[in-house]
C-alpha cells in the first residue's frame, strides 16, 4: 500500500506535495552526515596541523588514528556538563542548542548536484546568510550567560566581527548575483557551465573566502576564541557535549561556507570525468583544506586590525568590484 494514500498523510501530501518527502529524507541525511563529517574534518584538521608541524598527528586509535575523533566524541558525550554558579542558566543551556540550528538549516538550499538538493528556493543564498546570523546570537548568549570575562570579551568581539564581515561577504556575493540575476543556487551553478565565476570575479572570490573565514571565526580571524589571550573565548565555561556542539557548529559552518563558495565561484558540480557530486565534494574539501592550511600558517590579527581590515580594505575593494561589475554588465 502506498503510504501516500493513507488518510491524513494524503492530506498533508496534497498540501505539500513530494517536497515533504524530500525534506524528511534530506534532513535525515543531514542529521547523519553533519556529525560524521565534523568528525572527519576534525581528524583532517589535526592531521594537516600535525604534518605541517612535522609530526604525525593522532596515530593511536585505528589505523593512522582515523577513529580518534569518534572516540573523542564518545568521551565528550560521557562527560559531565558543568554549569558554573552565577550563570544565566536558561541562556547558558540554550546557546549551544541554538548554535547548531543554522548549521543544520544552512544545508537546505545548497545544491550538491543537479538532483541533490533538499529544497529549491528562489532566495537560497539569502536564506543561508540570514540563518548564519543566528549563530552570532548564540555566541553572544553563550558569552554573556557564562559570567566569565574571557567569554564576554570573546562574545563582544564576535558580534562586532560578524557585523563587519557580513558586509564584504554580501557585497562580494552581490557581484555574482547581478551577473546571474538569481538567488537560486541551482541556477547560479548552471550559469557556470562553461566558465567558472572565479575567472570573472577573482577579487570577489578572494573577498568571499576571507570574509567567510572571518564569519566562521577561523584563524587568522579567530579572535572570538583566541586561545593565547582569551583562553577559549566564548566557550571557556562549556564542557562535555555542550562544548562539542559549538565545535560541531564551527566545522559545519565551515562546510556550508565552502559549499557556498563552490556554488558561487567554483562552478558547483561542473567538472570533467566524474559525476557532479564528486566534483562538488572535491571542491568543498579543497577549500576547507585551504582554510586549515591558512590557520596553521598565520598569526592572529589584533582586534582593531581586524576591524580596519574589514572596513578599510575589504569593503572598499568589494564596493569597487561591485561597481565595475555593474558597469561592465550595463555596457555589455
Amino acid at each position: 500500500m502506498n503510504i501516500t494514500q493513507l488518510p491524513y498523510i494524503k492530506d498533508i501530501f496534497a498540501f505539500m506535495g513530494s517536497d515533504l518527502m524530500a525534506a524528511v529524507i534530506g534532513l535525515l541525511i543531514i542529521a547523519v552526515f553533519v556529525p560524521l563529517n565534523v568528525a572527519f574534518l576534525v581528524l583532517v584538521e589535526r592531521k594537516v596541523a600535525g604534518h605541517i608541524q612535522l609530526r604525525p598527528g593522532p596515530m593511536e586509535v585505528g589505523p593512522h588514528g582515523i577513529l580518534q575523533t569518534l572516540i573523542d566524541a564518545v568521551k565528550l558525550l560521557g562527560k559531565e556538563m558543568v554549569t558554573p554558579g552565577m550563570t544565566d542558566k536558561v541562556l547558558f543551556f540554550l546557546a549551544p542548542i541554538l548554535v547548531v540550528v543554522p548549521a543544520f538549516v544552512g544545508w537546505v538550499p545548497i545544491s550538491f548536484s543537479p538532483i541533490m538538493q533538499i529544497r529549491e528556493m528562489n532566495v537560497g543564498v539569502l536564506l543561508i546568510f540570514s540563518f548564519s546570523s543566528i549563530s552570532i546570537l548564540s555566541i553572544l548568549m553563550a558569552g554573556w550567560s557564562s559570567n566569565n570575562k574571557y567569554s564576554l570579551i570573546g562574545a563582544v568581539r564576535a558580534v562586532a566581527q560578524n557585523v563587519a564581515y557580513e558586509i564584504p561577504l554580501l557585497l562580494s556575493t552581490m557581484s555574482v548575483i547581478i551577473m546571474t540575476n538569481t538567488f537560486r543556487m541551482s541556477e547560479i551553478v548552471n550559469a557556470q557551465s562553461s566558465v567558472w565565476h572565479i575567472l570573472y570575479q577573482p577579487v570577489a572570490a578572494i573577498i568571499f573566502i576571507i570574509a567567510t573565514t572571518a564569519e566562521c571565526n577561523r584563524a587568522p580571524f579567530d579572535l572570538v576564541e583566541a586561545e593565547s589571550e582569551l583562553v577559549s573565548g566564548f566557550h571557556t565555561e562549556y564542557t562535555g557535549m555542550r562544548f562539542s556542539l559549538f565545535f560541531l557548529a564551527e566545522y559545519t559552518n565551515m562546510v556550508i561556507a565552502a559549499s557556498m563558495a563552490t556554488v558561487l565561484f567554483l562552478g558547483g558540480w561542473f567538472g570533467p570525468f566524474f559525476p557532479g557530486l564528486i566534483w562538488f565534494v572535491i571542491k568543498v574539501y579543497f577549500l576547507i583544506f585551504v582554510v586549515m592550511w591558512v590557520r596553521w600558517t598565520y598569526p592572529r590579527l589584533r582586534f582593531d586590525q581586524l576591524m580596519n581590515f574589514a572596513w578599510k580594505v575589504l569593503i572598499p575593494i568589494a564596493l569597487v568590484n561591485l561597481l565595475i561589475t555593474a558597469i561592465v554588465l550595463k555596457v555589455i
Binding site: 594537516v48 604534518h51 612535522l54 604525525p56
Partner: protein
C-alpha cells in the same frame, strides 16, 4: 599629490602583504610534505646516549668481581638532596671497610652527578634507564649493592 601618495602606499601595502602571505603558505606547504621528525614513543624508542645521567649505579670491577665501595660516606654528604645512605662493615679489625648497603631514593634525586664526581674509589656510574615509573614511592628506594648482585 599627498592623497594620491597615500593611495599608492595603501595599494602597495595590500600587494606586499598579499605576497608575504602567499610566501608563508608556500613554506608551510613544503613542510606539509616533508618527513616527520617525532618518534611514536612507546612503539619506537630512541637509543640513549652513553653519557646519559640516570640514577646512579655501582660498577662491577674485574679485579674483585664486585664494587669498590669503602662506605666513606662522601657521596652521602655531598648529596644536595640527602637521598643517599651508605652502610659498611669491616670483615676484620684493621681491614678496609666494605659497603654492604647503598640505599638511594632517586625520586628525590636531581641527577646532578656530584656523588659520582666525589667518589674516591670511582665505583659509581650513571645508569641509562629513563623509564623510571613505579606504583609506589617506596619502589624508588633501591639498594645499589643488591642491584649489583642481581645484575648479570
Amino acid at each position: 599629490m599627498k592623497t594620491s601618495n597615500g593611495f599608492i602606499l595603501y595599494i602597495q601595502e595590500i600587494l606586499t602583504g598579499a605576497k608575504s602571505l602567499a610566501v608563508g603558505l608556500w613554506i608551510t606547504l613544503k613542510r606539509l610534505f616533508s618527513p616527520i621528525v617525532t618518534v611514536q614513543y612507546p612503539r619506537k624508542k630512541l637509543t640513549m646516549t652513553p653519557n646519559f645521567r640516570g640514577h646512579i649505579e655501582a660498577i662491577r670491577f674485574d679485579d674483585t668481581k664486585t664494587h669498590h665501595c669503602v662506605a666513606c660516606g662522601l657521596c652521602a654528604r655531598i648529596c644536595p638532596s640527602h637521598v643517599i645512605k651508605v652502610q659498611g662493615e669491616k670483615t676484620k679489625a684493621g681491614d678496609k671497610k666494605i659497603g654492604r648497603h647503598y640505599v638511594i631514593d632517586f625520586s628525590k634525586c636531581s641527577h646532578c652527578g656530584l656523588c659520582v664526581d666525589v667518589c674516591p674509589e670511582q665505583t659509581l656510574k650513571f645508569s641509562r634507564e629513563y623509564e623510571l615509573v613505579y606504583y609506589s614511592r617506596w619502589d624508588t628506594v633501591i639498594d645499589l649493592m643488591q642491584r649489583l648482585e642481581e645484575r648479570p
